[in-house]
C-alpha cells in the first residue's frame, strides 16, 4: 500500500521533546503505540482530532507537524 501524501515531523518533534517515546506520545493523544508508529511512517493519516492533539502535545502549530505533498487539487 502506498504511503499517504501527508508527511510529518513527529520523529524530530519527539527527539526535541527530550526523546519522548512513541508509547508516551500514544498515551497522551489516546491512541496505541502502533498507530503512532504508522503515522510516523506515513502508513496512516490520522483524523483531524488526533492531528490537533499531536500538535498540542508538542505545543506547535498543526502545519509544523503535518504537510501535504500530494497532487494539487486546483490542477485537476
Amino acid at each position: 500500500m502506498a504511503k499517504t501524501p501527508i508527511a510529518n515531523t513527529i520523529r524530530r518533534l519527539r527527539f526535541d521533546a527530550d526523546e519522548m517515546t512513541q508509547q508516551q506520545l500514544a498515551e497522551r493523544i489516546g491512541v496505541t503505540r502502533q498507530t503512532v508508529n504508522a503515522i510516523e511512517l506515513g502508513k496512516y493519516s490520522p483524523s483531524l482530532e488526533v492531528a490537533f492533539r499531536i500538535a498540542a502535545v508538542f505545543e506547535v502549530p498543526l502545519e509544523q507537524v503535518f504537510s501535504y505533498h500530494g497532487e494539487d487539487p486546483s490542477k485537476r
Partner: protein
C-alpha cells in the same frame, strides 16, 4: 506485533484449522440423510473453534495485558471496518452462488455446505485483510 494483529492471526489460523478438518471429515455424500451428521460435525467444530480461539487469546493477553485491555483506537476501528467490507462481499457472493445452484438441481445439504464455505472464506478474508492493513497501512 500488536495484540489486535496477533488476534487476527489467531482467528485466521483457528478458522483454517477447524474448517479444513470439517470439510475433510464431513460426509461427502450429500443426501438429506446425512444432515444429522452435518449438524453433529458443525457443533463439534464450533466448540473446537471457540476453545482454540479462547485459549490462544488468553495466552497472548496474559503476555501483554495492557495492550489487550486497551480500547480500539481510530486506526484499529478503520481496519475492522475495511476488513468487514471486504469479507461482506465475499460472503454475499458465495451465499448467492450457493443458493443459485438450486436451479441446477442442488439439494438442501449441498446448498448448506456452500453457504457454510462462503462463511468460512469470508472469515478468512476478514482476518487476512486485518493482517494486511496492520502490516502495510490503511
Amino acid at each position: 506485533m500488536s495484540f489486535r494483529e496477533k488476534s487476527a492471526w489467531i482467528s485466521l489460523i483457528s478458522i483454517l484449522l477447524v474448517s479444513v478438518f470439517f470439510f475433510l471429515h464431513v460426509p461427502w455424500s450429500l443426501r438429506p440423510s446425512t444432515s444429522p451428521e452435518l449438524v453433529h460435525a458443525l457443533l463439534v467444530c464450533a466448540i473446537a473453534l471457540v476453545v482454540i480461539e479462547g485459549v490462544a487469546h488468553l495466552v497472548v493477553a496474559r503476555r501483554a495485558p495492557l495492550d489487550a485491555r486497551a480500547p480500539k483506537d481510530e486506526r484499529e476501528r478503520l481496519i475492522d471496518l475495511k476488513a468487514v467490507r471486504a469479507s461482506h462481499y465475499v460472503y454475499l457472493a458465495g451465499s448467492l452462488a450457493s443458493v443459485s445452484t438450486l436451479h441446477i438441481g442442488a439439494n438442501g445439504v449441498a446448498i448448506g455446505y456452500g453457504v457454510l464455505l462462503a462463511f468460512v472464506v469470508a472469515g478468512v478474508v476478514n482476518n487476512a485483510a486485518k493482517i494486511v492493513y496492520h502490516r502495510r497501512g490503511v
